[in-house]
Amino acid sequence: MRFLRRFLTRLANSAARRTQEERLREEIEGHIALQTAENLRAGLSPIEARRQAMLKFGGVEAMKQDYRAERGLLFIENLLGDLRNAGRTIRRMPGLAAVIIVSLAIGIGVNTTIFSWIQVVLFEPMPAVRGAANFLMVEPRAENGGYTGASWLEYHDLQSQVPALRDIVASQMVAFNVGETGRTERTHGQLVSGNYFSALGLKPAIGRFIRPEEAERPGTELVVVISYDYWQTRFRGAPGAVGQKLRVNERELIVVGVAPKDFQGTMVPLKFELWVPATMAPALLGGTRDLEDRSIRAFSLIGMLRPGATREEAQAEFSAAMAQLARDYPEASAGIGGEILPFWDAPRGPQRFLISGLAILQGVMLLLLLAVCGNTANLMLARGSTRQREMAVRVALGAGRWRIVSLVLSENMLLAFLGGGLGAAIAVWGTTALRVAPMIGAFPILFPTRVDEFTLAFAMLLGAACGLIFSAAPAVHLARLDPQEGLRSSSNTPPRGRVRKVLMGVEVGLAMVVLIAAALFLESFRSARQTDPRFRPEGVLLAAYDLSGRNPDEASEREFAARLLERLRSLPDVEAAAIATNVPVDLHGIPRRSFTVQGRVRTEAGQDRAISNTVTPGYFKVMGIPLLEGNDFAEMRDKTAPAQAIVNEEFVRHYLNGEDAIGRRIQRRPGSFAIIGVAGNSVYDAFGEPAQPAMYFSYRDLPEEQGEIHLRTRSGKETALTSEARAVLRDLDPMLPLYDVRTFSQHIERNLYLRRIPARMFAVLGPLLLGLAAIGIYAVVSYAVARRTREIGVRLAFGATSGRVVLQIIRENLGAITGGTAIGWVLALVISVRVMTKGGVNLPVFLGVPAILLGVATLACWIPARRASRIDPMAALRHE
C-alpha cells in the first residue's frame, strides 16, 4: 500500500519536474541560510559561517541526484529518454530505417497472415461456432482407405453406441434448385439431423432452428433454416422472412429461422445457404432411399467429446460399434471400420492439405524473417561501429553498461515495433485478400480467415523477438567497449568486422536454402502440371444439368440424356458430345465403388474397389482417351445389348494380372456387367498421380439424374458453344438450369487453385528474398566502404586504379558470401535428398540458383565499391 502510494507519487513527479527542482533549490538555500545565521551567532565571520554551513550540508549536487532518484522513477525516465533519443537517431537515418522497417514489416506481415490462417484451420474451424476445434470427425472408413461417410440408419445406431461423444451430428451437402420453375437458381445446403444446431451451440439470428422432432419422421416437416447472408441478399434482412415460403426443388418449404452471422455450415470452407431436416431427403431428392438404405453412405458425422472422455476412448467405442455393425449388416457394412479425426485432419475438404502446406510455408517464412533479422543486425552492427566514439564518450561520462545496452535496445525495439505495426497492417490486408477466394468446382467457398487480437499479438511478439535478435549483437558489442580504446581509435582504423561477415554469410546461406526450396517447389508444381493427363482437356466445354427434384424414373433419365446428346451432336460446331457423372481432377474426388470381377479371387476379407464413372457412348472420343481393345458402349437407345463396362489398363494389370479382360463380367450393384473394352489410363484425381484402376459404366445401363455434359468443339473455341448448349437444354426442358458451365481448362485451374497458392507465394517470395539478401549485402559493404574512405583515398593517391580498388572490395566480401552460399547449398541438397525421395537431384535448380544468387551478391558488392573507388583522394584524406 505504502509502496503503491509512493510509486504513484513518483510517477506523477516524473511529469512535474521543473517546479520540484525549484522547490528543492529554495529549500537548500533556506537551510544553508539558517545554518549560516547560527554560525554567525556562534561568532564566525560571515564568509567562514557560510563555508561551515556548506560543509555541514555536504555535497549539494550528489544530494540533488539522490533527491531526484528518490523523487521520480529513474527507470521510466531513462526509458523515455532512450526512446526520445531513439526517435532522434532514427530520424537521422531515414533511408536505413525505412529499409529496415519495410523489410521487417513484410516478414512479419506474411508470417502473421499465414499464422492467422493456421489459427483458423486449427482452432476455429467453423466460424460462429464456439469451441469448434473440439469437434471431431466421425468417419467410417473402408479397408482400402477411402472415407465412405455414414448412412442415416448407421448414424442412429452410432448415436447411442459411442458414449464418449456427446452429440453426434449428421449432415449431407446437397445442391438445391431454389425458385419458381423457369427461374431456378442452384443453391447449396445441408440436410441435417435434428440436433444439428443445438449441438453446435448456435442461436438463431431470428426465428428458430430445426426442432429435433422435425428430423424424425420422413418427409413431413417442410421447414428450412437460411443463412444470414442469404437472408440479407434474398430477403433484404427483413424480419418478415420468417414464415415465408421458399420453393426448393419444387417443394414449398417454410423459412423458420435465420442462422447466426458468419455461420457457413460444418464443412468449412464450403459455404452453405440452406439447412433442411435430413428426413426431407426423399421428398426433395426425388424419392431417394438415403434414409432406409444402409449402403447409401451420404452423411458426414461430427461429434464433441463428453467432458472427461478422451479421443482414444471415443475411437475404441467407435471401432467396436463399427465392428458390430459390420456383423449385423454384412451386406452394407462389411469391411468398414472407422476413424475419429480432429477437424483439421478432415479427409474431405482442403484442411488436411492446407495444414501441411501452411506449416511448411510458415517455416519458410520464419526463415525469411530470420534473414531479415540478420540483415538488420548487420546494418545495426555496421552503424554501431561508426558510433563507437559516441558510445565511448557516453561510457566515459559515466553511463553504465546496462544504460548503453538499453540505449541500443530501445533504438532497435522502436524499429522492430514500427515494423511489427506495419506488418500487422499488411496482415490485415493479406487476410482480406485471402477471403476473396474464387468458386471451386460447383461449390462456393469462403475461407473464414480474419485478424483478431491473437494474430496481432503474434505480430507484435514476432516484432519483439526480431528486435531482441537483431539488437543482441550490436548491444553486446558496444557494451563491451573500452572507453579509452573507443576514444583513441577514430573511425579511420576500422576493426575487422568478422561478426558482420559471418552474419552476411549466414543470411546468404538462408536465402540460398529458401530460394532452392522455392525453385524446387515451383519446378515440381510445373512438372506436375506438364505431366500428360492422358486425356485432352483443350477444346472441351463442361456444363452440368440436374433432373433431381423432377423425380424422373430411369427410362426418362435415359431418354433425356439420349435426346440431349442428339441435339448437341447436331450443332455444327460440336465435334463430339458425351455425358458423364464425374469429371476428373475435381477437388472433391471421383467415387470408388466396390465390385467383384470374374477371374479374380480375393484372398483377404473385404472388397475390391476402383474408381467408377458412368458415361455415355462417345465419352472416350470427347476426352481423347484411347480405346486400346474392344469397342465403345452401345448406343443409348439400344435395348438388346447386355449391360456393359469398360475398364482401364491399370485395372487389367492390377486385378486381372494383365490377362485378357474382354468378355469377363464385373459384379456390382445393381447387377452384372460384361467388359467390352479396355481404355488407356488417364489422370483422375491429380496431376502426377500413379495410375489408378478405373471402371466405366454406361449411362444406358445406369442412367442418372445428374450429368456433366462434355462437348468437344471443332473450332477450338469451346466458350462459343455456351449459348447454343443453353438453348438446347431450354428447348428440352424450360425449367431446368444449365449450371457450372466452364471449359475443361478452367475446371482444372479452379481445382488446382489451392495447390497454386503456395506455389504463387513461393514465386513472389523467392525474388523478395533475393532482394532482401541483396539489400543486406549492399548495406554492409557500403558501410564498410564508407568507414574506410581514408584508406581507399590513400590507395588511390598511391596510384591504385579504381578497378583494382573495386576488385579488392568485392574479393574481401565475396569470401563470406561464397561460404554462406556453399553451406546453404549443401543444406538444401541434404534436405532435398531426404524429403524428395523420388526423382533425384534437380540439377538446373541446384546449379542455376547459386549462379543467380552469386551474381546478385556480386552486383550488390560492386555498386558501393564502385562508388567508393570514385572518391577524390584529396577529399578523402582531408575527411575529418
Binding site: R6, G30, K56, E70
Partner: protein, 102 residues
C-alpha cells in the same frame, strides 16, 4: 524514525530544525551531512507519513515546514513498538549471564 519522532515532539518543523534537533539529541554523535536529510524527507512525504507546506521561519525566512500526518503518527507508533520489542530482546541478551541458562 528519528525524523518522525522529532516532528512528533516538536510539532511542525523545517528541514534545518529537524537536522539541528537530531544533532542535539544525539549529542552531536550523529553528525552526518545534513543534506542527506532531504531525500529521506521526500521519501516520507511520498509515503504520506509527513506533509509539508511553505511557511516563515523564526527570522522570517521562507522555509518549508514538515508536519506529521495521522498516518505518520500511526507509523511512528508501530515503529516505536517494534523498536522497543527489538531493544528489549537485545537487552535481555546482554543481561543474560551464563548461570542463568538452564
Amino acid at each position: 524514525m528519528m525524523v518522525l519522532k522529532t516532528l512528533d515532539v516538536l510539532g511542525p518543523q523545517h528541514g534545518y530544525g529537524i537536522a539541528r534537533r537530531i544533532e542535539q539529541i544525539s549529542g552531536d554523535l550523529l553528525a552526518v551531512n545534513q543534506g542527506t536529510l532531504y531525500p529521506v524527507l521526500l521519501k516520507l512525504e511520498q509515503e504520506g507519513a509527513i506533509a509539508s507546506e511553505w511557511g516563515a521561519s523564526e527570522n522570517n525566512r521562507k522555509a518549508r515546514f514538515y508536519r506529521l500526518t495521522r498516518e505518520g503518527r500511526k507509523q511512528l507508533q508501530a515503529e516505536t513498538k517494534d523498536w522497543e520489542q527489538t531493544a528489549a530482546i537485545i537487552a535481555r541478551f546482554f543481561d543474560a549471564k551464563a548461570e542463568d541458562l538452564p
